[in-house]
């Protein structure tokens, strides 16, 4: 079972610009099965049974989300593939677009048709220009084969896929900010409820899913949800992409089941810590992720709420003892100060102040006043911001204070 590969199995083996290569390895069989043998709600039931959960960070049950949109009465609905991917240290979705764009498209088509949408969007990071072109080529080829467009494979299904390119804003990965961005507005998050599943893009029911989440769907349709649910951790099963970086021997994207431990990822998949360096801590899930010490490396990574270390984007940054922690702190705080959308005061001000303190830390001084201020700011970010970005801005700093004893020197 551990040898199952779902997402990366054809990476490097097929030419991403040739749909024929994808067809030769069984591509679009899932769509054919969906169109000829299944009703939309049967497809959604398979996804529910698979217990697939969102790979965009929050881990929401994918089947349930699709079901909510499928069951709404509206004639106009949208499906959005979230490929905005801007969490530092994270480039798994880009690798999917680079290596197997047709797998992603097939997943998008099945998901969109199953909820009754006639239009799907891929919201792609504005810096991913090459991947946008790859996806455009893939879309044109899929269209020619009648996997897209009007009367898909001779059925009554219609679907258009639009590729929408972002313009450089981390917050646009948040689904309601993303929707505002497509609508030509500032990419600021919206108040919810209403949730996008009720009133999303142009006020219509909308399902937003992460690109990696979607790339699992063809396998689930072909092999059945029950089989998928047996892979990896039972609370949030399936295969997952992990991005290994920092002081590891073999950095890069690997596919492994959920429930693996960080130690397994670093040692077995990453070849261990870079020779000559000593492990200090790891950061899990990008700049907004938690810090993990040596003694915690055997904890399994899952998307469950009980998981102490949220998997987040799947990025694993290994930091060794030679690292300059004040540079990393500057990096985190600067990132969130720059990317705070400015809609709410606690985040706009809090990220600004944390960054100022990080600059003072660069000069090697941290006053008693700053120590008190850090605690106040972290509490404010964690407890009072409008959207999760504010909390993200506090996560790593909180761990640096509590686990690395940042303030004790």
């Amino acid at each position: 079972m551990e040898n199952t590969k779902i997402l990366t199995i054809n990476w490097g083996k097929i030419n991403p610009l040739k749909i024929g290569d994808y067809l030769a390895v069984g591509g679009y069989l899932a769509l054919k099965k969906f169109v000829s043998e299944m009703k939309p709600d049967e497809a959604i039931e398979e996804i529910v049974a698979s217990k697939l959960s969102g790979r965009g960070g929050a881990g929401y049950a994918t089947g349930e989300k699709l079901k909510m949109v499928a069951e709404s009465e509206s004639h106009e609905k949208y499906f959005i593939c979230n490929l905005d991917e801007s969490e530092p240290g994270t480039y798994k979705d880009r690798m999917i677009a680079d290596n197997n764009p047709q797998l992603l498209l097939e997943g998008i088509i099945i998901a969109a048709l199953s909820i009754g949408a006639h239009k799907a969007y891929i919201y792609i990071n504005g810096n991913y220009e090459k991947q946008k072109e790859t996806l455009e080529t893939a879309r044109a080829q899929a269209h020619k084969k009648n996997f897209l467009g009007a009367g898909i494979l001779g059925s009554a299904y219609d679907l258009d896929v639009e590729i929408f390119s972002g313009a450089g804003a981390y917050i646009c990965g948040e689904e309601t900010a993303l929707i505002n961005s497509i609508e030509g507005k500032r990419g600021e998050p919206r108040l919810r409820p209403p949730f996008p599943t009720e009133a999303g893009l142009f006020g219509k029911p909308t399902a937003v899913n992460n690109a990696e989440t979607i790339a699992n769907i063809p396998w689930i349709i072909l092999n059945g949800g029950k089989k998928y649910a047996k892979i990896g951790a039972s609370c949030s099963p399936g295969m997952k992409l992990y991005i290994l970086g920092g002081s590891v021997k073999k950095p890069g994207v690997v596919e492994a089941p959920t429930g693996v431990t960080i130690r397994e990822l670093v040692d077995d998949f990453g070849g261990g810590v870079t020779p000559g360096r000593d492990f200090w801590f790891a950061q899990i899930g990008g700049a907004s992720g938690r810090l993990v010490l040596e003694k915690e490396l055997d904890m399994p990574l899952t998307f469950s709420r009980d998981c102490q270390i949220p998997l987040g984007s799947g990025s694993i940054l290994v930091v060794d003892k030679m690292a300059n922690i004040s540079d990393l702190i500057l990096s985190w705080t600067e990132f969130f100060r720059r990317e705070s959308c400015g809609k709410c005061v606690p985040c706009r001000e809090g990220t600004f102040r944390l960054h100022e303190i990080a600059l003072r830390l660069q000069d090697g001084e941290i006053s008693e006043r700053d120590k008190v201020a850090i605690k106040d700011i972290l509490w404010t970010l964690e407890s009072t911001t409008f959207c999760p970005l504010g909390r993200f801005a506090a996560t790593a700093m909180r761990d640096a204070v509590e686990k690395l004893n940042l303030l004790d020197k």
């Binding site: 801007s86 480039y91 450089g168 804003a169 030509g184 700049a287 985190w332 600067e334 990132f335």
Partner: protein, 146 residues
């Protein structure tokens, strides 16, 4: 290419506002008030809303840009590599200060992750991405533009 011609390539729907802004930005380097007004009129949205959008995104400029803009990634992975030393070297080669917006010729800033963490340190010079940049490489990389 006139702005009118660029706009006519888009049907005047809300979802084309951001793509149109990007295209005008690419064609003229930035979006000034006059252009913002034309875009707002074309899409029938208030100029305030259009300007809010234009000023929000990193990849859209509302001010004239210097001939050479250099951005060094300083997100986690690159920050732990040599990003800081590279910034100092660029400062020395071009005689600029990081973050100085008054230099009419050059601008040096930091940027957020662009998803090439495996190939860092990453530097962007006028939208061209350089990977695995070293301090030694900096002068040669910039000479292309001088």
């Amino acid at each position: 290419m006139t702005i009118e011609k660029i706009l006519l390539g888009f049907s005047p729907k809300a979802e084309n506002i951001l793509p149109a802004l990007k295209k005008v930005n690419a064609g003229f380097g930035y979006i000034d008030e006059e252009k913002a007004e034309k875009i707002a009129a074309y899409f029938s949205v208030p100029i305030s809303q259009l300007y809010e959008t234009a000023t929000f995104y990193d990849l859209i400029n509302t001010k004239k840009q210097p001939a050479l803009t250099i951005k060094v990634c300083f997100s986690t992975h690159c920050a732990l590599k040599d990003a800081k030393k590279i910034i100092v070297e660029i400062e020395n080669v071009l005689h600029v200060k990081l973050g100085d917006e008054n230099n009419p010729k050059f601008r040096l800033g930091k940027m957020s992750c662009v998803g090439r963490c495996g190939e860092g340190p990453v530097v962007m010079v006028n939208n061209k991405v350089y990977e695995r940049v070293t301090v030694v490489m900096v002068r040669g990389m910039l000479e292309e533009y001088l």
